[in-house]
Structure formats: structure tokens, C-alpha cells
Amino acid sequence: MPPLLEVRRLSVAFHTREGAVRAVSDVELELAAGETLAVVGESGSGKSQMLLSMLGLLARNGRAEGSVRLDGEELLGAPEARLAELRGAAVGYVFQDPMTSLNPYLSIGTQLTEPVRLHKGADRATAYRRAIEMLKAVHIPESERRMRQYPHELSGGMRQRVAIAMALMCSPAILIADEPTTALDVTVQAQVLALLREIKDQFGTAVILVTHDLGVIAELADRVHVMYAGRIVERGSVEDIFYRYRHPYTAALKRSVPSWTESRPQRLVAISGNPPNPLRLPPGCAFAPRCAFRLEVCGERLPVLERVTDGHAKACFYAGPLGEEEG
């Protein structure tokens, strides 16, 4: 069975006054129905642009190349009208900050019902019932009353639930969650994650989870893609990425997560240096300038993804041990 979503050699570039900015380079990924795929990376590593380019929502100076197939249908270069049909109907999107992703001037009910009325041509009453049903699915009590309220009358966690309900209104095959917990309190984060897991079990929705929080991944994902400077540098199962990581960047990401298990307080470990300027990417591996395991070849040639074990691949020339391994 072909994958639900198949991305081949996807590149995204933005044309600016200073030259072309390559936000995403040669990304390949596959998503099976019902699967949860996590994309991890620092801010500016091209995660969000990659996802937006799939829906044809790049800024005007952006161009995407390659191939994105949803259920066998090519999306890149598809007519705008067709893309508009798919947005919201086949692919739901949850944003990072629920404080700003809901329109402050429209009631919850109006916003929730907009996608179904648009895509399914549902009448007001049907859309209303569907909205109530979805609010119940995301565990919002007193849904009838909430429908009449405005976003500012809801708490942050509640708003994110509404945003999730909104993304699910048309029963999309894929739910894209772009850092869905970053703007929330830790306790609320846990609730939202639990909700996402429940939803993918209940509705069988495939989830693409964008995050820079490794804890979120451990909680939710089946497979993980690690992105750096617009390229996928390592991909594998959660266990591969957490315990058998083979890329120095993944290792550095893992080390920079504060640990609570140590008895003595420790200094936070930061990855030295900054992500490269996408206007002037280094000729070889983009991580080389910050890499502790740099080889001579790293500055000259670009490493490609190569198989480590089944389903696990890394783009790195270095093959030795990466310091303390866990597990």
C-alpha cells in the first residue's frame, strides 16, 4: 500500500534581495495512515516552511521543488482551487500559539463551523452539531455555552483544544501540529499531548508533529526526523533516535535536555555556535562548524542519508562512538 503522504526531494527557496535563501533542501519523507511522525529541529531549521510548502502556502517569494503526493495526488504545482479544497479537509493544521491562532472577534462556534460549512457544504444546524461533537471529543465541558463564547474567555489550554477541534472538524487524514505545546504551561502540555494521542487512536488520524521538545516526541511519536539547516540529518524510530542515535547533532540535542535525575545541579549544556545563515550555507555538512566530531571531509562534501539499520538512517561521515551512550 502506498504511503498516505510521500515527499520526494522537496526543496524550498526564498528569493530575497541578498540572494536565494534555501530553507529546505532535498527532504524525503513518508507518512503512513494513522502513523505519527515527529520532525525535530532548532528554530529556523525549516520545519514549518517544509509543511507550509506542501499545502502551497509559502510566502510569495518562496518556491518549492520536488514532489509531494497525498494519497497519490501531486500537490506541488496543483491548481490553487484544488489546494484550497484539500486544506482543512484532507489536512488539518494546529498552530503553536492558541492565543493568536483564534480570531478574537469571532465566537468559538463561528470559527469551529467555518471549515465544515466551507468544505462539506454543511448547513448551519449540521455544522453546529458537528462542532458540539468535536468539542466533546476534545473534552471541553459545557460545549453549548462555549460555542457562544469568544477566545479571550477561554484559558490557553482550552483554546488549544478548540484549535485541535477546529483542525479535526472535517475529519482530515493528516493532522499537522506545529509545536502544539510550546506556548502552554507544563501541566497543560501534558493534557494536550494526552488529547493528541487519544485523537489519533480514536480517529486514526496520521499526525505530523513539529517540535523542538524531545519529551513531546517520546510521548507521542512513532518515527522521528531530525532536521538541521533545512536537511534531514537523521531519521529513525523513537528508540533509534533516543538510544541509538548516530548523528552528532542528535547527540548534542539529547545532551542539551536538562536532566532531573542527577543528584547534583548541573550546568545546562548548550550546543556551541549558532545555526548557519541560510544565505551562506557551508559547502559541506551544515553542522560541521559546530560539530565536535568534525572530519576533514565534512567541510568539503555533503553527507547523504545512509542506512544504519532498517528504518534508521543518518547523514554523517563520522562513524565512531558519540560519547556517552544511554540505554
Binding site: L4, A33, G34, L52, L57, R60, D71, A84, L86, R87, G88, A89, V91, G92, Y93, F95, D97, T100, S101, L102, N103, P104, Y105, L106, S107, G109, T110, E114, P115, V116, L118, H119, K120, A122, R124, A125, T126, Y128, R129, R130, I132, E133, K136, E144, M147, R148, Y150, H152, A163, M166, A167, M169, C170, S171, P172, A173, F203, G204, T205, A206
Partner: protein, 301 residues
């Protein structure tokens, strides 16, 4: 798609009652009703408007016939001239009511025209962005630099004097400010996440502008519109003073005030009575505008 499709039957099984029609305007009206100051001002405006329509119709006097035996008569209830007469013996009550008619008409029509043009122009420029935005806003800059009085004189010379021309002249100038303000707001709203959220749920650009952008602009537009009405009324007074506005014997509040100002020492009521009407109208408009802004903002409950 392989995920379970949305079916109306499944939704129906939830079995909730259909909602009462609730819209932005419905909610706004409910909130406005609870704002005592705005409602009072609205009622006062309504009374003035009603009087302006009805009084000249019922009164035995008209606004243009002089009464040579009663020049500059002071206000008196028994003589029939409640607000007195002016220097030609014309009944001031009727003239003030005609002035209210003319001023309110010019104020509202010119404001509606300028708000409509300004909002459309501003949202289009701000939402399109880039080169379209640059060209549209340069057009605004160029119109800004046209000196107003020569512009009106040219219009009058070309088309002759009539009230409609004043609408055109004032409307042509006052939409520029609104366009700039709306464009600025649109630029900042365009990058708001809820606009992105609407785009990823497949809402068409025109619907995004109409349903998501414009409601967020309403507050500032309403405030600006209610400030425009009085400024247009004063503008018209200024034009009339130069002889470019409404022509005698037709009158407007601006004309009455400037006529009254010239005889302030001898007949102060000729300034103060129309002045009081003008001030009341301007004050009430501001109050109503304030109330509307609050009513349109769901955070103000």
C-alpha cells in the same frame, strides 16, 4: 482519504438543538444596548434628526422668506419665533433645522463614502502587500499633496455650485487617512496566526478579508468614522464661509455659526443656539462612536 469521513448522519446523532442566529452584529447590538451613555447620545441624535425632518414641514415659516418687520428678533415663545429671527427676519428655528439636515446629510454621506473607499483601498493594499501595496500607497501620497482649496475651486469652476460637489470634494480628501490607518492595521493583522489558520483551513482570500480581517478592523474604523463626521461638518462650514459650500438662502450649521459669530455682540443667541446644536451633534456622535467601538470588541463586556 483513509480516515473516517465526516458524515452528516453521525453529526445528527449528537442531537443538539440548532443554535439561535448569533453573529458579530447581533452580539455587538446586545452590548451596545447596555451602554447607557451611547444609548442616550443615540436617542438625542435621533431626536435632533427627527426634529430636523419634521419641524420645517410643520412650521408656518420657511427658511428663505424674509420678514422685514421682525429683524433680529430675540427668542420668544409668544411671537411664534421660538429661537428668534436673523438679520433678514427669517425664522431661526426653521433655519437651524434646515442647517441640521444639510450638515448631517453632508457629514454622513461624505463619511460613509470616505470610509467605504478607505477601507477597501487600505485592506486591498495591506493584504496584497509588495508592489501592489507600494503603488496604491504612492497614489494616496500623491492625492495627499494636492492642495485642497484650489482643488475645490477647480471643481466648482468646472461643475458649478451644488451640494453634491461638496460630498465629492470632502470624500475625495478624507478617505486618505482611513486608507492609511486601515492599511497599517491590515499589515499587522495579515501576519497574525489566525489568518494563517484560516488559510490552512482552506478559506479563500476574499473570505479571509471579509470574515477575518474586516471585523478586526471595525473598532478602529468606527472610531475614525465618528471622528470624520464632525470634521466633515466643520469642513463644510469652512467651505461655505469661503462661498464654496451651500449657497444662501440654503443654510447649514456651519453657515449659521459663522453668520452668528459676526453679530455676537448684539445678538449672541444667533451664535449660541446653532452652536449648541453643532456641539451636541458632535458630542453625541463621539459618544455613539465610543460605544460602537466597545460593542464591537468582544473583550469589552
Amino acid at each position: 482519504m483513509s480516515a473516517p469521513a465526516f458524515s452528516p448522519e453521525a453529526a445528527l446523532s449528537v442531537g443538539a438543538a440548532a443554535p439561535a442566529g448569533r453573529s458579530l452584529w447581533h452580539d455587538a447590538w446586545r452590548r451596545l444596548r447596555h451602554n447607557r451613555a451611547a444609548m442616550t447620545s443615540g436617542v438625542v441624535l435621533g431626536v435632533i434628526l427627527f426634529a430636523a425632518v419634521v419641524v420645517p414641514w410643520l412650521s408656518p415659516y420657511n427658511y428663505y422668506s424674509p420678514e422685514w418687520t421682525l429683524l433680529d428678533a430675540p427668542p420668544a415663545f409668544h411671537g411664534g419665533h421660538v429661537f428668534g429671527t436673523d438679520d433678514l427676519g427669517r425664522d431661526l428655528l426653521v433655519r437651524i433645522m434646515w442647517g441640521c439636515r444639510v450638515s448631517l446629510l453632508i457629514g454622513f454621506v461624505a463619511s460613509i463614502v470616505s470610509v467605504a473607499i478607505g477601507v477597501v483601498w487600505g485592506t486591498a493594499a495591506g493584504f496584497a502587500g509588495g508592489r501592489v501595496d507600494a503603488v496604491m500607497m504612492r497614489a494616496v501620497d500623491i492625492l495627499y499633496s494636492v492642495p485642497f482649496i484650489p482643488f475645490v475651486i477647480v471643481l466648482v469652476v468646472m461643475f458649478g455650485r451644488n451640494v453634491f460637489l461638496i460630498f465629492v470634494a470632502i470624500g475625495a480628501v478624507s478617505w486618505l487617512d482611513i486608507a492609511r490607518i486601515v492599511r497599517g492595521q491590515t499589515l499587522s493583522l495579515r501576519s497574525a496566526e489566525f489568518i494563517d489558520a484560516a488559510r490552512v483551513s482552506g478559506v479563500r482570500p476574499s473570505a479571509i478579508v471579509a470574515r477575518h480581517l474586516v471585523p478586526n478592523l471595525m473598532g478602529i474604523v468606527v472610531i475614525y468614522a465618528t471622528l470624520t463626521v464632525p470634521s466633515v461638518i466643520l469642513f463644510e462650514a469652512f467651505l461655505s464661509f469661503l462661498g464654496l459650500g451651500v449657497q444662501a438662502p440654503m443654510t447649514s450649521l456651519g453657515v449659521l455659526v459663522s453668520d452668528g459669530a459676526s453679530v455676537l455682540r448684539s445678538y449672541p443667541y444667533q451664535l449660541f443656539i446653532p452652536g449648541a446644536f453643532l456641539a451636541t451633534i458632535v458630542y453625541c456622535l463621539n459618544d455613539v462612536g465610543d460605544g460602537l467601538r466597545d460593542a464591537l470588541d468582544p473583550k469589552e463586556r
